[in-house]
Symmetry: C2
Subunit: 456 residues, 2 copies
């Protein structure tokens, strides 16, 4: 442990500088205009893996953005850890809400502000630096493989095929991912589940052109009004989702599980104050942790139609659109939910509009075991570096690929995230605490130590 701390101490600044360099790449996978930046990011990650001591480093082509692979096999008899992360980031808009530019990392009160600071550049790069540390201190106790992709924020469409054709190369005993959050640094936690996702875009078309709202208003259906009515109907008065069959496969938690979940430290007042809201909202009969961790949801991620420029335009729009995503829980199946939504949305479309539903992407929910060797290794690592046992929690986010790894590679995952819910993931002013960055680099080597010991 002393060895770890002193190595970090001696290389503190460089480890931060390298992360900053990584954060300066605007690797937004959703927007084609950043294509060359995303590709440059992949090359940078590959170079850093080589520098840290990885062998067989390769920027692996896919139908989309490449997957960066690298490995260090110290002894075939030792357990193997497959580290997964993603070098792509969410779009940064609305840009005007950033206090400092999203791709010019800045430190304010010991926090790194930048798009990707936490999700996931700051978190996956801890593993690159922890790997360097273990190589330099000769303490690498397991074989290690890196698989850093560039399409997580757009659904990882091409990682499935990549995994299928690289099954041998990806053989491992556990997949280790830092792309989730802890309750707080005072209350370290380990996520034991992730929600799945079904993301769609809907288009409602009324008249074949924008119309003068005076000449036609009152006689022709307004697609924005109709879309509003359709969206409004998707939740009932208890905020249950009204799509037929939506809850069919939802696994209800046992009373014990609910108790455990709700025992995690939580202050509704602090939660509301942080978000600046007066009242919480959600599905009747469930707590906040249950709502975000164990219940499926439906959110409007974006809505637009008609004139949205400055000033006033008296138009009856031809079209209105919305991006809608649903978070799924065990044992919902993404494709099934996508079909349920599509069928329902088309069914409730009134005759005076035309409705189109286009699926974007999806992913399956997962629950990770809490009795595995890997989970216990993570527990011990955190207990040692934080001086406290981690609390098991359910994450509300989605890493669609986790379910795929289990299906394709037959490997379970450990979600050892060092982020915080307040890190503004997917929001303006995304940040990652400098403390958490170093704490992760300090904790990760302990995981390898205990994973090796407990596997013996």
């Amino acid at each position: 442990m002393q060895q770890i701390k002193s190595y970090i101490e001696q290389n503190k600044q460089r480890m931060l500088d390298e992360l900053f360099e990584l954060l300066r790449f605007p690797s937004v996978s959703a927007d084609p205009k950043y294509k060359s930046d995303v590709l440059k990011t992949a090359d940078y990650v590959a170079q850093k893996l080589r520098d840290a001591g990885a062998d067989n480093v390769e920027v692996c082509e896919t139908a989309g953005y490449p997957v960066v692979y690298g490995e260090k096999i110290i002894n075939p008899a030792k357990p193997t850890v497959l580290v997964y992360g993603h070098y792509d980031v969410q779009p940064a808009d609305p840009l005007e809400l950033w206090e400092t530019p999203p791709f010019e990392p800045t430190i304010r009160d010991n926090r790194i502000y930048a798009r990707g600071a936490c999700d996931d550049k700051g978190q996956f790069y801890m593993h690159v630096k922890a790997f360097e540390l273990m190589m330099q201190t000769g303490t690498l106790a397991c074989n290690i493989k890196f698989m850093i992709e560039g399409e997580e924020e757009v659904g990882s469409d091409n990682l499935g095929p990549f995994v299928q054709v690289n099954k041998d190369r990806l053989k491992a005993d556990v997949i280790l991912i830092s792309d989730t959050a802890m309750i707080s640094m005072k209350h370290p936690s380990l996520e034991t589940g992730l929600r799945g996702l079904s993301y769609l875009e809907v288009e409602v078309t009324g008249p074949n052109r924008d119309l003068h709202s005076g000449v036609y208003g009152g006689a022709v259906a307004n697609p924005a009004t109709i879309l509003a009515k359709m969206i409004a109907s998707l939740h009932d008065d208890n905020n249950h989702i009204t799509i037929p069959g939506f809850y069919n496969d939802v696994a209800e938690l046992s009373e014990a599980e609910r108790m455990a979940l709700n025992n995690a430290p939580y202050s509704e007042e602090e939660y509301k104050a942080d978000l600046g809201i007066n009242e919480l909202w959600g599905e009747k009969g469930y707590s906040t942790f249950e709502r975000t961790g164990t219940r499926p949801t439906l959110e409007v991620n974006g809505i637009w139609g008609g004139y949205i420029g400055e000033g006033a335009k008296t138009v009856l729009p031809s079209k209105a659109h919305a991006k809608i995503s649903m978070r799924l829980v065990p044992n919902q199946i993404s494709a099934t939910i996508t079909k349920f939504f599509t069928d329902h949305f088309l069914r409730i479309a009134p005759p005076y509009v035309k409705v189109k539903v286009t699926p974007h992407h999806g992913g399956e929910p997962v629950v990770t075991p809490t009795d595995s060797v890997a989970y216990r290794a993570a527990q011990k690592a955190i207990a040692e570096s934080f001086g406290k046992e981690p609390i098991p929690t359910r994450g509300g986010g989605s890493i669609p690929i986790v379910a795929l790894f289990e299906a394709e590679l037959g490997i379970k995952t450990v979600l050892m995230g060092f982020g915080l819910d307040s890190d503004n993931l997917h929001s303006p002013n995304e940040k990652y605490d400098v403390y958490n960055y170093y704490k992760g680099i300090e904790t990760i080597p302990l995981f390898y130590k205990y994973f090796d010991e407990l596997s013996a």
Copy 2:
């Protein structure tokens, strides 16, 4: 009449070229970035009035865009016609839907395609050319005054003050406006009413920042979903507007008026085919003409919130917005309806969001008399040039200033419009038929002739 036709014949091309020059100015009053273009347009109009023979032409400063004034007093004993029009135009977006650029007027199958071709450059410029014609042929039978403003499309906020301080200069016996439509060239008509307007913008705020829809989704109200629910609640199942008090002052038509209105030629099949819709929508118990001409409406002119760029972003937005306008009928009062809407919208806001309502602009509805000398003069002029008596109709649009003229100047208005509902006002590919342009220039001098005769 022969004299009129031959003058038009001899000057056909020039009259079109001048309109094209006028249409090339992108005089979008709603968008500040066009400010200098709007101002240039005013100067062009002033120059053309001078060229046509107007005296005391002036580009009159206001708190906003200037009003262009010009006059020709031939004989104080003669009746005076005050011509109103506007040189500003609606925004042209969505640009990608225009077949040819909005500010590069183009003729296709004898139609002039350009923003403002009909609303209102093409229509008010007919009056400038008809005035030139009467001057050149020595047939001007009345005194004439022009008042061409530049803020009609944004509510004419500064025309009220202008009219108040220019009461003497604007003294007249009738206001003549061409900014409305006929049923068709086969069925010439005269609008006898206009709807009023109340235009507002609403903002719904949930959390104080965009959130990750996985981390927070299900526990925090989504402002886009809430806005959809609020908008959806503004119409009941019969498409009546649910705002308390909204219909209090609505004047119901007599059976006779309804009959007259519904006797106007109308084919529901053609109406639907033109708009590409399968079914009409509207307030239960009323016909299309009643819905657009005699009933108040509420339309979403624009809605936006969250991520509306390419691809997918799993965000729970902080804010959602909508531009909402209501068309008013006698005897609704714009300010009252604005207050009713605002009070209602704030009242129905659930406690987990904050709601802001900002009024944009408004205007009062009007009904013009059909027994006045001026109306009969317009009837005779149209009957002579079209060979058919005009059908009285109720227009669905708004020219807020008409009610103000009546209140401030005590002058009634004649709405002698030559447009068509299919001219795509406020839409991409706005057009004005070349035939209608010349037909207007031909009809207007006849109005002066008969207005003079009937006033005697």
